[in-house]
Structures are given as C-alpha cells and as structure tokens.
C-alpha cells in the first residue's frame, strides 16, 4: 500500500468517528450541552481525540517507513489533485450555505456547527477519494 494511501486511511479513521459522535450529540441530544463552556469543552475533546489519533498514527507510520524516503510521484499528485478538486466544491457549497443562506435564518452555534460540518465533510470526501484513487486509478490520469 502506498504511504499516501495509508495516510488517507489514517486521516479518515482518526477524523470520522470523533466528529460523527460530536455531530450526533449536537443533533440528537442538544440538551446535554447547554452552556457555552460545555459546548466548547465537547468540541475541544473531539478535536483532541482527532489530533491524538492522527499524530500517533503518523508517528507509527514514520517509524515503519524510516528505511525508505517518502517520495511523491506523478500518480500521487494526480490522485491528490482530483480529490482536492472535488473536495473544494463540497467546501464551496458548505460555505455558501453557512455564509450566504444561514445568517438570514439561524444564529450562533447552529452556524458554527454547520461550518464545522462542511469542513469535516470536505476533508472526508478528499481523503476518501484519495484512498479510492489508489484502488481504482483511472487509466488516463492526466
């Protein structure tokens, strides 16, 4: 498996579960988080779990790959470019909703959480497309 494919899977597995829990709590059990401090603490815990899982995985990978230098070649760049292009449009759509539509109907944490959701969704799409790109690369990638 390519080191960049491994990193994409690591990013997906370290990011999706904590933020899934966070958004489920926000959507289904908002009564658990009533004060500003509780909400910030919940977000900090989720972001912390994400960061710890990702950095730990990255350190393990670095240790495993210590013998061979990490080389980014044209296939890696093509896969990354395609994934980033698609994720950009996901992010764009999310930011239009958050910045153009929601200010007229919603306020506060709803806008914050929707913005966060758009960012997480765009990142998830990007890493998922990178991971899939290594499994079934289109023959003509340029």
């Amino acid at each position: 498996m390519s080191p960049f494919e491994k990193r994409a899977w690591l990013a997906l597995w370290s990011q999706c579960p904590p933020y899934l829990v966070y958004f489920l709590i926000q959507a289904e059990c908002p009564m658990w988080l009533t004060t500003f401090l509780q909400r910030i603490a919940c977000l900090a815990i989720v972001a912390g779990v994400h960061a710890i899982a990702y950095v730990t995985g990255l350190l393990v990978m670095k240790w495993q790959e210590r013998a061979e230098p990490l080389l980014l070649d044209e296939r890696d760049r093509a896969i990354d470019g395609r994934a980033t292009r698609t994720a950009y449009f996901v992010m764009l759509a999310g930011m239009i909703v958050v910045g153009v539509v929601m200010p007229f109907s919603d306020t506060g944490w709803k806008i914050t959480n929707t913005a966060l959701f758009a960012i997480v969704l765009a990142e998830t799409v990007r890493y998922a497309l990178i991971a899939m790109g290594y499994r079934r690369t289109p023959r003509l990638a340029h």
Binding site: D73, D76, A141
Partner: protein, 80 residues
C-alpha cells in the same frame, strides 16, 4: 464507450534486465514502487515524460515498451 487500451512490456523488460526490482526502476525514473506496479498491471498510464524515461532505462524505443491498442481489450501486464 471507448475500449482503447495502453499495454506495456515493463515487467518483461525488468525480468530481462537482470530481474531489476520495481523499486530500482522506480528510483531511476522518479516514481514509487507502487506506481511501477500500477503501470505494470495496467492500472495507471504514465505521463509521456515518464514513459520516455522508462524506455530509456531499458535502452528501448517508446513503442517497444508501450503499445496503444485502438479498440482492443486491455491486456494488463502485457509481458505475461
């Protein structure tokens, strides 16, 4: 739906070049071992520049290494 395919003799040429490894070929043309494997399996078509570099490593012309099959069926790892 287009059925053109690009096949190659990279695997055979590696074998003929004293069983050169994918990693060694990759190092000489600036690709990773995984990308060389993908090229051999027909899962990735390299850029023209890289295709020329690969042919150059084996001392062959480009059309001796890569084959374009108009309307043909993909023969991944054409050397087999």
């Amino acid at each position: 739906m287009p059925t053109e395919s690009l096949t190659n003799e990279v695997r055979l040429l590696r074998f003929l070049a004293q069983d050169m490894t994918q990693a060694e070929l990759g190092k000489r043309v600036g690709l990773t071992r995984q990308t060389i494997a993908a090229i051999e399996q027909g899962r990735y078509s390299p850029s023209l520049e890289v295709a020329f570099r690969i042919a150059d490593v084996f001392g062959k012309r480009l059309d001796e290494v890569f084959h374009w099959n108009p309307g043909g069926v993909a023969e991944a790892g054409g050397a087999e």
